[in-house]
């Protein structure tokens, strides 16, 4: 079935694995939060799993990702271990950020997850800088900036896209358009009605894609990644999707018309991909349940690891504020006194 324009089965299976991993983590995090095992502010990515899963199969660990508070799907898809995230969510010293950052600031450089931010719009300017570093260093790395539809109305969006075009940076702007920004509907607050359309005036291609369609998303991402790696500059991808939960855990999403939500949930993109694999790629149910069982174990272990880990001690307040004291440069070696 594989063709140049079609991911082969193994790739689709890997996309599914990542999406299912996100879905399972989400399920268990919500359960752990609801049961009081963990106390955290949580922004569920349920419904948006396919976007980073289909994108990240084109990326290596060296490629950079910046994401937002609603970012666990981006982090997991990029390879951040579940247990590092769980332990951070639980506020433990074994978390990716020693518990200092928390859910909104997951960082994991070994997998290229450099910044998770809580300020709308701020993933974009920083992703530019990561791409700039790669460009100047002459390495093949690219950078991905994830953000929401609501972020397309904040100033940093325009500044970032313009600069990326002017410098032809190897960066991809991925707008995960879930049609809501907190309680605000996309159409009501986004003039022009399209994020992708804003790209042209900022000198780069803008593509709208069904982000819940693994194949379509894989294709669009592949092209953007190729452009970036070839030094042809940035791309804006507007990946259409939908948020199954409220803005954050505890939000009942009453502002979303019930019909709209039901329709979206019925087309659950993770289940859709699962069915697609069985129907069109001859993948056996057993293969999938095997993958799912492994995921179940990983997530269970992550939870156990997190909840049995130690809390940080108060002295952690004083470290990582500045560089630890140490020797500093006192003389340049190349410009000696004359």
């Amino acid at each position: 079935m594989a063709s140049d324009n079609q991911p082969d089965t193994s790739v689709l299976l890997e996309i599914y694995r990542r999406a299912a991993l996100i879905k399972k983590n989400d399920e268990k995090i919500i359960a752990a939060a609801r049961s009081g095992k963990m106390n955290l502010i949580y922004y569920s990515p349920r419904g948006q799993e396919i976007i980073p899963s289909a994108l990240s199969v084109h990326l290596s660990d060296d490629d950079y990702v910046c994401t937002i508070y609603r970012g666990i799907h981006d982090q997991l898809a990029k390879g951040v271990p579940s247990k590092s995230i769980w332990a951070e969510y639980a506020g433990r010293v074994t978390g990716s950020c020693k518990g200092k950052g928390g859910p909104m600031h997951i960082t994991y450089p070994a997998k290229g997850v450099m910044v998770t931010t809580g300020v709308v719009g701020s993933s974009m300017p920083i992703a530019n800088g990561l791409a700039l570093a790669a460009q100047i260093q002459g390495v093949q790395r690219i950078a991905v900036a994830n953000f929401g539809d609501g972020a397309s109305n904040i100033g940093a969006f325009l500044e970032s896209l313009n600069l990326a075009s002017v410098w032809q940076l190897p960066v991809i702007f991925v707008c995960q358009n879930n049609l809501y920004a907190e309680h605000s509907s996309f159409r009501k607050f986004t003039a022009g009605g399209s994020v992708a359309q804003r790209a042209e005036g900022l000198g780069m291609p803008g593509v709208t894609v069904d982000g819940n369609d693994a194949v379509a998303m894989w294709r669009v991402a592949r092209e953007a990644v190729a452009r970036a790696r070839a030094g042809e500059g940035p791309t804006l991808i507007e990946a259409m999707t939908f948020r199954f939960q409220g803005h954050l855990l505890g939000d009942d999403a009453s502002y979303i018309p019930a019909e709209q939500l039901r329709a979206a949930v019925e087309k659950d993109p993770v289940l859709a991909l699962r069915s697609h694999l069985i129907a069109h790629h001859q993948v056996r149910e057993l293969t999938l349940t095997g993958i799912e069982a492994a995921i179940e174990r990983e997530v269970e272990e992550a939870q156990a690891f997190a909840l049995s880990s130690k809390w940080p001690t108060p002295d952690e307040l004083l470290t990582d504020v500045w560089a630890a004291p140490g020797p500093v440069k006192t003389h340049l070696s190349t410009s000696a006194p004359t």
Binding site: N39, L40, I41, E88, G91, R92, V93, G95, C97, K98, G99, K100, G101, G102, P103, M104, H105, T117, G118, V119, V120, G121, G150, A151, N153, I154, G155, A181, E182, H183, S184, K188, F189, T190, H247, D251, S254, Y255, W311, P312, T313, P314, E316, L317, L318, V321
Partner: protein, 331 residues
């Protein structure tokens, strides 16, 4: 809005103040992210009902555009209205810092008094709920250092009502700081229609041995420390600044002049905070009359951490205030 409940929380008090201000004066308008009723009347419901009552011309949800929000507030104020704008969380004021400090605060002076900006900026913040480094900061010192804008906050629901009304009807821009914890703490209902004047501190409790000066939710911690001190035979005066900038130097100097000892408390990080100005002013004005050095209690000097034990150690609490007070008292 009919029967007056015995107790309200700060959310209800603020909602009532906005309601009463809009009813009082057609020029009062309210806008910010998610705050009209179609968007749920605010993410926590603080502004619920306003757009239904006063219409969607005077009460508007906005895109996520803090510069445009504050800019629109400035322009609307120049155009004769009394906008109440909202920056959802205080950290996001950083995004609109140019509009607030280079414009709102300065237009009266730079225009030679021809224009002025009677805008209120409501914003909310506070550590303690695990919101982490970009959602919890108290940044009032930035604005206090900027001539032309006032900083106001409250320590009880009733004061939230009266102070917000004064902010709205003030002729200069005011940052009105709300606090997440206070949203869920109830207290006596405000006197309907009564404004609490800006620029005047509130002596919550008279005392003779030491002055505890604070503002916002931390006043409650100062109060708790004062109660504890009383058990130790120490009479502590507790002062709520209410208006953080420009603050009521007269009341403070009078108090510390009498007690000779002072602890200043705020949730913002201690270093270069509002407490520094107050301590410096006291040290200058009352040199030779202080029985011990002015002390300051504030957040530890780091981003607000997420992990519960760290967040707890980061924040001031009654025990730390007590410790500072005891040290000031030489115990």
């Amino acid at each position: 809005m009919s029967a007056k409940p015995a107790t309200v929380n700060a959310m209800q008090a603020i909602n009532l103040a906005l309601h009463d201000a809009m009813k009082e004066d057609d020029s009062v308008i309210v806008f910010g992210e998610d705050l009209a009723d179609p968007e749920g009347g605010g993410v926590l419901g603080v502004t619920k009902g306003l757009s239904s009552t006063f219409g969607d011309s005077r009460v508007r949800s906005t895109p996520i555009s803090e510069q445009a929000i504050i800019g629109a507030g400035i322009g609307a104020a120049l155009g004769g209205l009394r906008p109440v704008t909202e920056i959802m969380l205080m950290n996001f004021a950083a995004v609109a810092m140019d509009m607030i400090t280079n414009h709102a605060a300065k237009l009266r002076f730079m225009s030679g008094g021809q224009t002025h900006v009677p805008m209120t900026i409501r914003t909310m913040t506070g550590a303690g709920a695990g919101n982490g480094g970009q959602h919890s900061d108290y940044l009032e010192a930035w604005f206090a250092h900027t001539a032309g804008i006032k900083v106001v906050t409250y320590s009880s629901p009733a004061e939230a009502y009266g102070l917000l009304l004064s902010a709205i009807f003030d002729e200069d821009p005011v940052i009105f700081i709300e606090n997440l914890t206070t949203y869920f703490v109830t207290g006596p209902a405000p006197t309907r229609g009564a404004l609490i004047p800006l620029g005047k501190a509130n002596v919550l409790r008279r005392g003779t041995d030491i002055s505890l000066i604070s503002y916002g939710f931390m006043v409650n911690h100062a109060w708790a420390a004062a109660v504890e001190l009383e058990k130790e035979g120490v009479s502590a005066e507790v002062i709520d600044l209410r208006t953080v900038a420009p603050y009521d130097a007269e009341t403070i100097l009078d108090s510390v002049g009498r007690t000779g000892r002072v602890v200043i408390v705020h949730e913002a990080v201690r270093n270069f905070g509002v407490g520094a100005e107050i301590a410096a002013e006291i040290a200058e004005a009352l040199h030779g009359r202080l029985k011990s050095a002015p002390r300051r209690v504030g957040g530890s000097f780091n981003a607000v951490p997420f992990s519960k034990p760290l967040e707890t150690s980061h924040m001031p609490n009654p025990a730390r205030i007590l410790a500072a007070a005891r040290s000031a008292l030489g115990r």
